[in-house]
C-alpha cells in the first residue's frame, strides 16, 4: 500500500506519451504478444503450437487462481508447488496400488483440502503468519514426499490416466479444458457469491468484516482450502502429464503462480484481484517462454527477456488501471 500511494503522483505525467499502449488491457497485451510472435515465427500460429501453448500455461494458471483467493484475503500460499509435487506422489501410489483412477484423484484432492485446512488452522488458531506456515508446509511436504518415494520417481502404471493429459476435446487440449473447468466456477464464486465478497472484505479490513457479521476465520480457512484444492488438482494433472509421481516436481511454481496473479493485477496487500487476471498472467508467462523457444532465443537471453517483459507488461497495465480510475 505504502509504495503504491507513493508512486501515484508520478505516473499521470508520463501517461500522455503512450496514448495507444496505455489503453491496452492485459488481454490486449497478450494478443499483441501473439501477433508479434505470429509474424516473427511461422510455427507460432500453427495449431500444434497453439495446443502446446494452451497446455503449457494450464497448470500455472490453475495454481494462480487458487493462489489469488488467498492473496485477496491478504495472505500468501508458498506451499502450492510442494503440494503439486506431493500430490503427484499420492496419485501415483494409489493408482499403482490398483485403486480406480477416480478414487485416486478424489483422495488426492482430499489431501489438498486437508493441507489447506491445516494452513487455516495455523493462521487462525495458532496465530502464525501465512508466510511462515505455508513455508513450513513447503519444506515438510517435500520431505514427506521424498520419504514416501525414497527420492525416486514412481512410474504410474495406468495408460488411460496418462492419455488424458495428452488428449484433446473439440480441438482444445484437455488440460486447457481443465482451466475452464476451474476458472468458470472460480469466477462465479469470486464475483457472484457472498463467499467471494467475504474474501475481499477480509482482505480489505478484517475487523470491519468481522463486525459486519462475516466469519473471518471461516473465510480464511476457505481461501487456503481452495488454494490447496487447486494445487492438488494441478498435482493430478501433472502426474498425468509426466506419468510419474515425484515429490521434487513443481519446484518454484509457487513463485510463478504468485507472479501470474500479480501480473494479473492482484495486490499482495489484499482485497484486489480477479479470476481472469491470474489466468492471463499465467498465459502471458507461458507465451513468453513458448515464443522464446520457437525463436530459438538463447536460454540465458530468455531469462533476461522474461524479466524485461514482466516489467513492461505490468507497467503498461498499471498505467491503464490508474487512468481508468
Amino acid at each position: 500500500m505504502s509504495t503504491e500511494t507513493a508512486a501515484a503522483p508520478e505516473a499521470p505525467r508520463k501517461r500522455r506519451n503512450f496514448n495507444v499502449l496505455f489503453g491496452l488491457t492485459l488481454l490486449a497485451l497478450l494478443v499483441v504478444l501473439w501477433i508479434v510472435l505470429s509474424i516473427a515465427t511461422p510455427s507460432f500460429a500453427s495449431p500444434v503450437n497453439i495446443a502446446n501453448l494452451l497446455r503449457q500455461g494450464s497448470m500455472i494458471a490453475i495454481l494462480a487462481v487458487g493462489q489469488t483467493f488467498v492473496i485477496i484475503t491478504g495472505g500468501i500460499d508458498l506451499s502450492v508447488g510442494a503440494v503439486v509435487g506431493f500430490s503427484t506422489v499420492v496419485t501415483a501410489l494409489m493408482i499403482n496400488a490398483g485403486w480406480p483412477v477416480w478414487l485416486a484423484v478424489a483422495t488426492t484432492l482430499l489431501v489438498g483440502i486437508g493441507i489447506g485446512v491445516f494452513h487455516g488452522f495455523g493462521i487462525v488458531k495458532m496465530g502464525l503468519p501465512p508466510f511462515i506456515i505455508t513455508l513450513a508446509t513447503l519444506t515438510s511436504l517435500r520431505g514427506i514426499g521424498l520419504l514416501m518415494t525414497n527420492g525416486n520417481s514412481i512410474n504410474i502404471q495406468s495408460e488411460a490416466f496418462q492419455t488424458f493429459s495428452r488428449g484433446s476435446f473439440g480441438g482444445v487440449p484437455n488440460l486447457f479444458w481443465m482451466v475452464i473447468l476451474v476458472g468458470v466456477p472460480a469466477y462465479v464464486f469470486l464475483q457472484h457469491t457472498r463467499w467471494g465478497r467475504y474474501l475481499f472484505s477480509v482482505g480489505s479490513n478484517a475487523e470491519a468484516a468481522r463486525l459486519s457479521g462475516v466469519n473471518v476465520n471461516r473465510t480464511i480457512y476457505m481461501a487456503y482450502t481452495l488454494s490447496g484444492l487447486c494445487a492438488a488438482f494441478v498435482g493430478v494433472l501433472l502426474a498425468s502429464r509426466i506419468g510419474i509421481g515425484n515429490p521434487t516436481q513443481a519446484e518454484g511454481w509457487e513463485l510463478q503462480a504468485i507472479a501470474s496473479s500479480v501480473i494479473g493485477g492482484t495486490s499482495l496487500f489484499g482485497a484486489v484481484g480477479s479470476v481472469h487476471g491470474p489466468l492471463l498472467g499465467a498465459f502471458i508467462l507461458a507465451t513468453i517462454n513458448n515464443g522464446a523457444n520457437l525463436l530459438n532465443v538463447n536460454s540465458f537471453w530468455q531469462r533476461i527477456i522474461t524479466g524485461v517483459l514482466i516489467i513492461v507488461i505490468v507497467y503498461f497495465d498499471g498505467l491503464r488501471r490508474k487512468g481508468g480510475r
Binding site: 503450437n49 521424498l146 509426466i242 506419468g243 523457444n293 530459438n296 536460454s299
Partner: protein
C-alpha cells in the same frame, strides 16, 4: 536451406551441459546444420522439458537430440515426438523404444568408477588399508542421473570394499554452499571420515572448499564427478583425489552427427557408450584426458 536439429539438454545453466551444447554447436557448423540449443533450467524441471520438447517438435525439425531429465516421464513424449521426427538420445535414457540412436555415459558405471577412485585414494593415504567411513553427497533429490551414480557407488562399495562404511548419504539443495556446510558438519561429526563422493560438479566445488577450508587435503579423500577449471585446480592442489569425467563434448557432437545421418535415412548405431574416465593427478596430463578436461568451447 539448412536442416534444423535442436538439442534439448537437462539444465542449460550447468557447465556440463554447456559443453554438450558446445559439441553440438561445433557439429552444426561443420555439417551445415542449424542447431537450436534448448533445455530446461533445472534438472528436476521435468514438465518444463516436456514443454520444450513439444515446442521443438512444433517447429518441424529434421531430427531432435535430447537428454531426458526423467526416464519414465519423458518416455511418452519422446514416443510422440518420434512419430513425427527422428529422435536421438544422449546422456540419459528415457523409457522409450523410439530412439533411433542412443549415446550415453552409463551413470551407474560412473558411480562404480567413483567408488574405485575413492577406495584407491583412501588406500594410498592410509598405507594401503582401504577402510574407514565414507560419505555420499548428492546435489538434489529427484534427478535421475544423480540417483544412478549413487546407486553405482553404493553397489560397488558393498561389492568390493567391505572396509569402507557409508556413514552418511545426504542430499543438498543444488547449492555449493549447502554442499560445503554439509561437508564441514560431516567432518565434525565423523572423526573417522576418510572419503567423500560428491556426485556432480557443483557439489564437488562446495565439498572441495570444505576440505580446503579445513586443510584436510589428503586426509579426507574426495572424488567428484565432471570437471571444470576450479575442480582441476583442486585436483592439482591435492584437495580432490579424483574426478570421474564423461565426454560431454563428444555426446553433443556425435549426437548431432548421428541425428543428421538418421534424418537422411542412413543407418546408425543404436547404442554408443561415450565412456566415463577416472582422472587423477597422475593421469591428467595424458592427451586424451587433457582433451576431456579442456574441451574446446566457443
Amino acid at each position: 536451406q539448412q536442416p534444423t536439429i535442436p538439442i534439448i539438454v537437462k539444465d542449460t545453466t550447468s557447465f556440463y551441459w554447456q559443453i554438450v551444447m558446445a559439441g553440438a554447436r561445433a557439429a552444426g557448423k561443420e555439417l551445415g546444420v542449424n542447431v537450436p540449443e534448448l533445455g530446461a533450467q533445472a534438472e528436476t524441471d521435468v514438465n518444463g522439458q516436456i514443454s520444450i520438447l513439444e515446442n521443438a517438435v512444433a517447429g518441424n525439425p529434421a531430427a531432435i537430440v535430447i537428454a531426458a531429465t526423467e526416464a519414465k516421464a519423458l518416455g511418452k513424449p519422446i514416443d510422440e515426438a518420434a512419430a513425427k521426427v527422428k529422435v536421438v538420445g544422449i546422456d540419459s535414457a528415457a523409457d522409450s523404444k523410439a530412439f533411433t540412436s542412443f549415446l550415453t555415459t552409463d551413470n551407474v558405471q560412473g558411480g562404480r568408477v567413483a567408488a574405485d577412485g575413492l577406495a584407491a585414494a583412501i588406500g594410498e593415504a592410509n598405507g594401503g588399508k582401504i577402510e574407514g567411513d565414507v560419505a555420499l553427497i548428492t546435489a538434489q533429490p529427484g534427478a535421475g542421473s544423480l540417483e544412478q551414480r549413487a546407486q553405482g557407488f553404493k553397489e560397488q562399495l558393498a561389492a568390493k570394499y567391505p572396509g569402507l562404511k557409508l556413514v552418511a548419504d545426504r542430499y543438498a539443495d543444488g547449492q555449493a554452499t549447502t554442499g560445503l556446510n554439509i561437508a564441514t558438519d560431516l567432518i565434525t561429526a565423523n572423526p573417522n571420515l576418510k572419503g567423500i563422493f560428491a556426485s556432480n560438479l557443483i557439489m564437488a566445488q562446495g565439498v572441495g572448499q570444505a576440505i580446503a577450508e579445513n586443510d584436510l587435503g589428503g586426509k579426507v579423500a574426495l572424488v567428484g564427478f565432471d570437471s571444470d577449471e576450479k575442480l582441476i585446480s583442486f585436483l592439482n592442489q591435492g584437495v580432490i583425489s579424483a574426478l570421474v569425467v564423461q565426454d560431454p563434448y563428444r555426446m553433443g557432437y556425435d549426437g548431432i552427427k548421428t541425428a543428421l545421418a538418421a534424418s537422411k535415412g542412413e543407418k546408425v548405431e543404436a547404442n554408443v557408450d561415450t565412456g566415463a574416465n577416472l582422472v587423477t593427478k597422475a593421469n591428467m596430463k595424458e592427451p586424451k584426458i587433457d582433451a576431456l578436461l579442456n574441451p574446446k568451447l566457443n
